[in-house]
Symmetry: C2
Subunit: 396 residues, 2 copies
């Protein structure tokens, strides 16, 4: 899969005032970095969106508590891979808090200005000693040019690091994400971090902003319909640089969408990045709902794996989304080719649709419901035998 993903740059610029880095503390067996840090020179404003699962990773309770006590001000975010610190009870929460406290001591800041995020298999105690004993090395490593190292440290089954960057007129914005399985709204990704030096407004505004960004980016992504208990999206904004509010939202939404598409392209076992285009819905929310139903259909996803321009499965999936639309007027396309229109299949067009699925690595499916004017795109990947293999063998 990494074969077709956009090449990962050697460097990703961080907004002024931010540093990042990663070290290997012994969680990944192959020696790759597994402990990362995002560091702000001064406390910056933060907002977060967490999983809606009823099972919560321990770091989520700690993040919520720290953000409440710090009034949304954050100095550093510590992230470990290969251990989700989830279903670990009260001890898990104490462990996450201890890691934050140890890092805060070294930064000479209040404990609540440090956040933590964990990702990986659930149920094992967090190896706090191992993490704490590498904090000095991690802090020494953090610099303005090691964003990529952080992106690598948070990878689990990802095959490539996920970064995106956007220049605003005055300011900068950078995003990081990880995730390749157990990916579904809401949240749609396990961990994602957005950094900017732009001024985003008051703390309340910032959370609403982040929620809008998530709704139009990560929440439109699904790999396998499984929501993780650890999903976390954090926005850190130093506010050093004035910026137009609309421009900031656009930049963050584009970064979020790029990261979401990178995650879809890196879906476990995936060979195709799939964009599901829903057109002609009554509301944008309805378009997203129909798009998600198509994007989570195993029959649609296996058809893509088989390069089969199977309009019937797309139409059937849309039809079970609970939205009434006339099959006589609706239209289904693959790539730029209609495969169903006017209530009838267009078998003569299937060869062109097959070529699109066979030759393109980023493929498009679409349906026009013809009941309104609202549109939405949803991203997913194909479902291959390799996905099954990866997840059948994950722990063994």
């Amino acid at each position: 899969m990494s074969a077709f993903a956009a090449p990962v740059p050697d460097q990703v610029p961080l907004p002024p005032g931010f540093r990042a880095g990663g070290v290997h503390c012994g969680l990944k067996k192959n020696g790759d970095p597994d402990l990362g840090i995002l560091l702000a020179d001064q406390p910056v404003e933060a907002a977060a969106v967490f999983t809606r699962s009823r099972l919560l990773g321990a770091h989520i309770e700690v993040c919520r508590d720290h953000l409440a006590r710090s009034n949304g001000m954050v100095r550093a975010v510590l992230v470990n891979a290969r251990n989700a610190n989830c279903a670990t009870g009260r001890q898990g929460v104490e462990d996450a808090r201890a890691c934050c406290r140890e890092l805060a001591t070294r930064l000479r800041c209040p404990t609540e200005q440090v956040l933590m995020a964990s990702t990986g298999p659930i149920g094992a105690p967090l190896p706090t000693d191992r993490i704490v004993s590498h904090l000095d090395a991690l802090l020494a490593r953090a610099s303005a040019d090691r964003g990529i190292e952080f992106a690598r440290a948070i990878m689990t089954t990802d095959t490539h690091a996920k970064v995106a960057h956007w220049h605003l007129a005055q300011a900068e914005a950078t995003g990081f994400a990880k995730g390749a399985g157990m990916i579904h709204p809401d949240m749609a990704t396990m961990l994602a971090f957005l950094l900017t030096d732009a001024r985003t407004g008051a703390a309340g505004t910032m959370e609403a902003l982040l929620r809008r960004v998530a709704d139009r980016s990560f929440h439109r992504l699904t790999i396998d319909g499984d929501t993780s208990p650890n999903d976390t999206l954090l926005l850190l904004a130093s506010g050093r640089t004035a910026a137009d509010a609309g421009e900031v939202e656009t930049a963050l939404t584009r970064i979020g969408s790029r990261l979401a598409r990178q995650i879809a392209a890196d879906g476990e076992g995936a060979t195709r990045l799939v964009t599901v285009q829903v057109r002609g819905a009554t509301t944008e929310e309805q378009a997203v709902h129909v798009g998600r139903t198509i994007a989570t259909s195993p029959l649609v996803k296996t058809a893509i794996a088989g390069r089969d321009p199977n309009w019937g499965r797309i139409l059937s999936a849309a039809a079970r989304a609970g939205v009434a639309f006339p099959s006589e007027s609706c239209r289904v396309w693959i790539g730029s080719t209609d495969v169903f229109a006017g209530g009838k299949p267009l078998p003569g067009n299937e060869p062109a649709a097959h070529r699109h699925l066979s030759e393109e690595r980023e493929v498009v499916l679409g349906i026009d419901l013809t009941i309104g004017t609202a549109n939405a795109d949803v991203w997913t990947c194909d479902l291959t035998a390799a996905y099954v293999q990866i997840n059948a063998d994950y722990r063994t």
Copy 2:
């Protein structure tokens, strides 16, 4: 998969007054029977439950119309495989009606006393000539001892025929089903037929009865989360024999459950029949909802394929069902072995759970939510690389 399914009997008894049979009319390439009939000596009372998809196979409109016009009285049901007659527009409805009319002429009964059901790929016109030209042979074939032939005629990707029979104190009940993919509530199967000579009460009562039966059998089954546009469950009751209403409902529910479990066991590519037991929910409906969420999780289903006693995926799936339950008191088991209890994993028990998944062909997963006293079982199968292969290559 058929390797472990219960052996299909050579014969299945039909209730008195019913005949069945099947012929090959040229829809299946391998020469197997592809056109089946269920025939009652006299018109019998009927009730139906259809798919909730917004895309409907043509036969569903015809069935609804005929049942309304015949006041729920049915003489015969004609079923073809390998062509769903779906997304075929007005012509599809006319085609289905023509088949019913031709059969009714031969039976010297009103057209509306004949129903039809179709299953297979969607979008191709129904080959009515081929079907009609085989009706005489089909009628000649119908007999009291050819239930199995009917069961074979309605198979598509099924690897074995699905039948179940129940002796009531006085009466008999027999069920047939087909389905191996695109299986999900509601309906949970593509086609299923229940026959009984028992008296079931008035037509309105009978439909309510069938809905209760479906809710506790076919609606608790999921293969891949994809609902088909053709799903149809028909109950034909001759009412010849007096029977206790409770006994009839129990018998039909057991037959439905057995058929649903046969469908799960024959899920495309499946190697395990999985029973998901949800205990300690607030309501039965809630228990079913949590069970379905677990049973549709690709991560749970691939773990079973890998014989991985992955309690974390079971717990995570339950946690995203939108039902709040305390992870501290909840319990997760595999087979008869607890793998998570008291807020903690029990790694010492995983070898026994692994043995259950490795050695049994019918496996059990369970969770006690500890928030109430309602229970439900949901049936599914594991998700294997073979499922992907079958569905990637279905049309090619």
